[in-house]
């Protein structure tokens, strides 16, 4: 160790956190090295700030200021509060897998009677298994993103889901991230979903807090691998507490003739960032990403997507809608790369922001980097207030102002919500949007 290197206060706090995280997730020598290197990578930049291009609109030094201390392993009281939170967070008809303050909670999870071809383990169990390929996959996330590096260094647990070839899972899996501790703290999780060939599944992830848990940071990461001819539907609902920070990253790879449909909605958390890289590794695959931000007060939510078309004949669609009230701030950064081999790529991206107040802010940064010539690519963006003539029509029919606005806002986000294939999950997203709108009135 280089003793000459002066450590900042944050640095030594992080060292302590790393030591604690290691204790929480003891794993073989190699993992320890990876975590050490990840921490070093993180410390080279620290919290990303606006002079780092990718973080231009989301300056974590301003928005987050510091990394909170690592959450303690949940005790009985914390688990009890988490259980209470599940009463509203649980989704009927799904298989629940619960992470409380960054630790897998077997007692709150449904791991019995797994369908044939499905394996579910905690990250801790999976690492103990000593499977080198799995380990490599778990740590395949790009640590040039400082927040991924930090996550890699600090992670304490997660869920590892493997679905075998030919398995059609009709019951959606629901990974619930619950913050339930009393002290202001950070939790670091990493999960993995490996979908074999000719398989299909639906994964829901939601982020919530137990009653009374307000200030925390949820640092999550997810690795998804979708095999040939397989389909994954993914729904993410960020409903964190009003003072919380949610920093999530994911890396998705698709085999050939695969289909990935993701819908994300952020209505909670003071600050949230979802950064995903979606890579096409096989021909004939399709990705639909749909996102909705519902923001008010001083909320800040950032969605940063990289669609990486490396092979021919793939299609991607990105639809993003932001509804921004008060002095909230919504960011969408969409980068599409079409590599030289990726002929016949069909990639489109459309973002629309609805500004409900003069102080509301929407930033939209589309980037197209196209290195193949026979492609169809496009992007579009609009930003503006509700259409006055539509509002007047509704009011002339008897709808009070807020109700008229609510109806138009619901229609505005409806287009993205409609993309959810599962009826129950679509209803759930609609209900969440409805709750947000009612809270406005």
């Amino acid at each position: 160790m280089n003793v000459a290197l002066a450590k900042t206060d944050t640095g030594s706090a992080l060292e302590a956190a790393l030591a604690a995280a290691r204790e929480r997730l003891p794993a073989g020598g190699k993992v320890a090295d990876i975590r050490r290197q990840a921490l070093d990578a993180y410390e080279r930049t620290g919290l990303p700030h606006r002079r780092i291009e990718d973080w231009k609109y989301t300056d974590l030094r301003v928005l987050m200021r510091e990394v909170l201390p690592l959450a303690a392993a949940p005790d009985a009281a914390v688990l009890k509060r988490a259980e209470a939170a599940l009463k509203t967070a649980a989704i009927e008809g799904t298989r629940r897998l619960v992470l409380v303050d960054g630790a897998f909670a077997p007692g709150l999870s449904e791991t019995n009677g797994l369908e044939k071809g499905v394996s579910i383990r905690s990250l801790r169990e999976a690492l103990d298994g000593g499977d080198g390929a799995l380990q490599a996959q778990l740590f395949s996330l790009d640590t040039s993103n400082p927040m991924v590096a930090l996550n890699s260094a600090m992670l304490t647990d997660g869920v590892v889901i493997e679905i075998a070839d030919g398995t059609v899972l009709s019951r959606p899996l629901h990974v619930v991230h619950i913050a339930a501790g009393a002290a202001a703290s950070s939790m670091f999780t990493r999960s993995l979903l490996r979908l074999g060939k000719n398989a299909s599944a639906t994964l829901v992830e939601s982020y919530v807090a137990a009653d009374g848990t307000r200030t925390y940071q949820a640092h999550d990461s997810l690795v998804i691998a979708i095999g040939d001819h397989s389909r994954l539907d993914h729904v993410r609902l960020v409903e964190d507490a009003a003072d919380a920070v949610n920093i999530s990253s994911s890396a998705v790879t698709l085999g050939a003739h695969a289909h990935f449909n993701i819908f994300g909605m952020a209505s909670g958390a003071a600050v949230s960032r979802y950064q995903a890289t979606i890579a096409f590794a096989g021909e004939g695959s399709r990705v639909e990403t749909n996102g909705v931000n519902l923001l008010r007060g001083r909320q800040h939510a950032d969605t940063t997507l990289l669609m990486d078309h490396a092979v021919p004949n793939c299609a991607s669609r990105e639809v993003f809608r932001a509804v921004i009230d008060d002095s909230a701030h919504s960011v969408f950064q969409g980068r599409i790369i079409v590599r030289p081999d990726a002929q016949k790529t069909d990639a489109k991206m459309m973002t629309r922001a609805l500004l409900l107040s003069d102080d509301a802010e929407a930033d939209n940064k589309p980037e197209l980097e196209i290195f193949a010539d026979d492609v169809t690519c496009g992007h579009g963006a609009t930003s503006g207030a509700l259409d006055e003539s539509l509002l007047f029509y509704l009011r002339a029919r008897g709808l009070p102002e807020k109700d008229a606005q609510a109806l138009l806002i619901q229609a505005f986000v409806g287009e993205a919500i409609e993309s959810i294939a599962n009826d129950a999950l679509r209803d759930l997203a609609e209900a969440t949007a409805g709750r947000w709108l009612r809270a406005r009135a």
Binding site: Y393, R395, A396, R397, G398, L407
Partner: protein, 250 residues
Amino acid sequence: MSLLEVKNLQVRVEDREILHGLSLTVNPGEVHAIMGPNGSGKSTLSHVIAGKPGYEVTGGEILFKGENLLEMAPDERAAKGVFLAFQYPVEIPGVATMNFLRTALNAQRKARGESEYSTPDFLKKVREVAKSLNIPQDMLKRGVNVGFSGGEKKRNEILQMALFEPSLCILDEMDSGLDIDALRIAADGVNALRSPDRAMVVITHYQRLLNYIVPDFVHVMSKGRVVKSGGKELALELEESGYARFEDAA
């Protein structure tokens, strides 16, 4: 008491005066026709009565059932019984017609302190009205006016009018864009709503509509004023001679 009293109304849009002291009195049970050349201010009058933002009333007043209409929000006016069938109904993508109709109807009822319609009662009522106006059910499943033809939009306006049962119906060029059969059906729909305690203000360019919806009074508007009022024969006169003579009078 008169249902609607417009007294010496002066209205500006973007610093330009459009209505220059317009007066009009409508009593329950009456049907008034307003005719007048393009740009004479007919739609402006209807918008100001309905409460559309963007118009500045610089003089005069509008009383509805004796109350100051200009102080009410558009939705309050609707709940009190003002209905405007728009000359150009807007399309509202993503808002299903049925959902819109139910939300609007129940909002009006709530504002009046009445109970909301139950779903079966509501559906029954909409189906009845739609059937009488020859509006196919699948049109009601689409977004409000989305992809509707001009004539279909107009019929959708009449449908709403029948559903909301307002006491003042203002029809701004409901005949434009309607084919002959549709015109008859729509006019029948309007006539079915005629009643001793409901009044209609029918804005049109064509005498033909007034053969179907026979007015008690006809007013000629020109350059932001009512320049002539008379009985239904005035419409025939206009058809013969055009507006030129009245424009001079303005």
